[in-house]
Symmetry: C2
């Protein structure tokens, strides 16, 4: 190739890349809500909850265990520190929280996939945490790193999933103290969507940041947020050393954390929705304020995991009305604090992806979508109270997430959307199928479910009377068979693998 | 028994009855919504839709077929009648509609079960119309009058169902031209909740009114609404003689009708939500206004049945986002017309009560509940696009309806609901299970699902790894086995049976 031809080819490639980037920029890789918020809680009740949370913070306080540094920070900031119990003068935390950004960009290694968390945006991420997996033909077993990679691949391929998430399942075949390397690497290698970091030990949080520095470059990570990680409160009203360590590591590195009160009402909080959300607000405010003491302006999300309890078995229940009330109020409170808000997802207690699973998941998902949750964890794949990542449920759930995206886009009120020409053209008693307007929108008019069977009974029976799980199984297999990895710079890949190998060799395996 | 003892016993019975009635009066036998409405459509878009609907009514018009009386009424009222096509000057229909009540009482033979349709109230009714039934062990077959009675009994026994509905399934074993007697009688005999009348022929509407006069008394029916019946528009923009006949019969008798545009978008209406709802508004306004010409002040409901279409198979789809957008906008439009509003229910396309059925039903039900629908038809039992009444799905759906009732009640903001004592009593790191507040609310704190399994995987497996359908099957059998009919005055019962026998003998059976 001549130099001129090479330049021309380069210009062609650049032009195509620019075109691709511009096209990606037109449609955001997350949902920008265009319908009014659903707010189930009155402003009067919200104000009562805020006042009560301040009372809880002042009178009862929050415990920060096994972390003298944090206790010192609270003392300096003007809180009343009594052993590990910290009490806060009214208004103090709200003032500290004011430095937190109301939204932040989380970058992805593919710039077209960066997400904005907060504001009118909704980001869907997969299930987080299950030690088990379930497959349609293999049943229930412990998760492996292969399962982990599979869920990362499925999430990568699902347009309705905007974020690769974190512990999509526990790779139980790897040692506890080293599996975070393989988990973070899997997100980096098999997906180019944004992801979450390890929080099970402060060192593992630091490892996550180091790996991000390899992937994104040290300078870039110093100035930008490239991971969002999950800090669960040990409700009621306790932060433990593990979570505080991870919180500090991430906040110092300007990486986002989701401060998540984790409340099964009746066990870790009061049985009433107003009581639960009061406690959640107090817990979240303390954690969010702590990030701002550590690094004012660090990105932080007000999180919530709330379920009811079966008073008979003590097991958590999902898809019931009480957590919906808790969620709506908490989302309202987060907005008043000008913080991004996180909740679940397609939650359920069912052991199999049956009608119970679907009812519960749907009744958990719509409040997340309608009440304006910004980061929806457990969007797909959650089964059995979070003990199981289900392949088939993942497929069913991403179909539901796709529908929520259409719903939140709202109404097309353009002249074309008004469809007056269609009504005039067709007139009384005639069919719209053939009219120009219908034909013009034939392909895209309605959300097309990937997994629902809308055929006639007779056709469905002829095809084997297959239920949703069987159809979803097929889709899982097809998707994994057709997976193509997003290209990763070879030098970075090598550097990541070398880092992991060196680290893994530097200390013995352990299951703690 | 002495006369005194008899009088004393009578007084005791009366006192107990009064106490029962008073207790029933405290809690309404329907839902009074206590959370803000979800309104997905902007006021600006709503005004555009209203203006466009007026344009449709003026330029395109509505056809009223095979009913010269109705055409005459429109001519007198000032509409432009051209053959069967009627066009309406802008504003004319809105003015006529102004006499319709914004809410009305539908009486039940048990006064404690009367419902108020409209305002902040939500009334749940069962599935309407399926020719088939499905049972967990028997599969899919044509419905019979025994199935019909069974669904009436189940609806009677379900606290979350407020209304006995109408054609809970088609009793295909009875002749078409006489089955309405058995259907209306079944509602009267096996339930004491309010019900719907026959609409398949004007004579059958008249028969329904006659039977109501026997049950409630002629004078009572003259002054009160005792049935609510379903008038479907032959969308797009056509009213046929059958429906007009039933509409006139009921409106003249001051009985309520639900004017229901029945639009599978893409076939009977435009593919866009704004276009669909524009057509629905035009159609509904014409029918509602007609009731007010016939009898100003007659109770009437703005109805809507809206689904999308699979552009591949032409089959209706359910639980997708587009009909939710249509529903929310239509509910907003009905409120601006100060009319009660009706929609479906727990709709789905699935052939079996599996995950597809549940996702679709849940995504159909929450908009009905949250967007302020006053009369929710197809609340329970709907399967396979409305072709099947499913026993097991009925059980699953009433569980969901019960949850919606709790959700719509909203927050308990009382001192007890705030639960500050519980938070103070328990404090950081401790369990709420044993605290006084939790113990006081142990039984009623959370909605208890009748059909969900929340046990551990191990226990669930030990008990046979049963899915939701199997558990629902058990409940069906238990409920039907324990059914006790509400007492019906023997003289009225005899009179009803005599009326039916005489009528049935007066003309030959026919399947038309």
């Amino acid at each position: 190739m001549t130099a001129q031809a090479a330049r021309s080819a380069r210009r062609g490639r650049e032009a195509r890349r620019t075109a691709r980037e511009q096209s990606a920029a037109v449609s955001q890789p997350y949902i920008v809500r265009n319908v009014p918020l659903t707010e189930l809680c009155s402003n009067e009740a919200i104000e009562t909850i805020e006042a009560n949370a301040e009372t809880v913070l002042q009178e009862v306080g929050i415990e920060f265990r096994d972390d003298d540094e944090v206790l010192g920070l609270w003392r300096e900031a003007g809180a009343d520190v009594d052993g590990v119990r910290v009490r806060f003068p009214k208004g103090m935390l709200r003032q500290l929280i004011a430095t937190a950004p109301s939204e932040y960009v989380q970058h992805a290694r593919n710039p077209a996939r960066k997400v904005v968390i907060g504001g009118n945006n909704t980001v869907f991420a997969p299930v987080y945490g299950p030690p088990f997996v379930r497959t349609g033909d293999g049943g229930r077993r412990y998760g492996t790193i292969e399962d982990f990679r599979n869920f990362v691949k499925l999430a990568y391929m699902a347009p309705a999933i905007h974020h690769s998430g974190g512990t999509v399942c526990e790779p139980v075949d790897l040692p506890v103290n080293k599996r975070h390397y393989d988990m973070v690497y899997s997100h980096m290698k098999y997906s180019d969507k944004p992801f979450m970091g390890s929080v099970t030990h402060p060192d593992r949080a630091a490892d996550t940041v180091s790996m991000c520095e390899i992937l994104f470059g040290k300078d870039f990570v110093a100035d930008n947020t490239v991971c969002t990680s999950l800090i669960n409160v040990n409700s009621p009203m306790v932060y433990d050393a593990t979570m505080l360590g991870a919180l500090k590591a991430y906040a110092r590195a300007n990486q986002a954390v989701i401060i998540t009160p984790f409340i099964m009402a009746g066990a870790m909080g009061p049985v009433t929705p107003v009581g639960t959300v009061t406690q959640a607000l107090a817990e979240a405010m303390a954690g969010v304020a702590l990030t701002q003491i550590i690094r004012p302006g660090a990105p932080v999300v007000f999180g919530l995991f709330s379920s009811s309890l079966s008073m008979q078995s003590g097991a958590p229940t999902f898809g019931t009305p009480e957590p919906t009330l808790v969620l709506s109020a908490a989302a309202q409170l987060a907005r008043r604090l000008k913080l991004p808000f996180r909740s679940g997802g397609s939650l359920c207690a069912s052991k199999v992806p049956d009608a119970q699973a679907a009812y519960e998941s749907a009744q958990s998902l719509w409040p997340a979508a309608l009440c304006g949750v910004n980061f929806v964890l457990h969007g797909a794949g959650w089964l059995e109270g979070g003990l199981v990542s289900s392949y088939e449920k993942f497929i069913m759930d991403i179909d539901q997430l796709g529908m929520m995206e259409v719903l939140l886009k709202g109404y097309d009120t353009s002249e074309d959307g008004q469809a007056m020409d269609a009504i005039r053209e067709v007139g009384p008693g005639n069919h719209f199928l053939g009219c120009a307007h219908t034909q013009a929108h034939f392909e895209t008019a309605f959300y097309r479910s990937t997994v629902a069977d809308n055929n006639s009974f007779e056709q469905w029976e002829q095809e084997g009377s297959r239920d949703t799980v069987e159809r979803a199984s097929d889709i899982v297999k097809k998707m994994l068979a057709s997976y193509v990895p997003p290209p990763l710079d070879a030098a970075k890949d090598e550097e990541l693998l070398a880092f992991i190998a060196e680290k893994k060799a530097s200390f013995p395996d352990s299951n703690h």
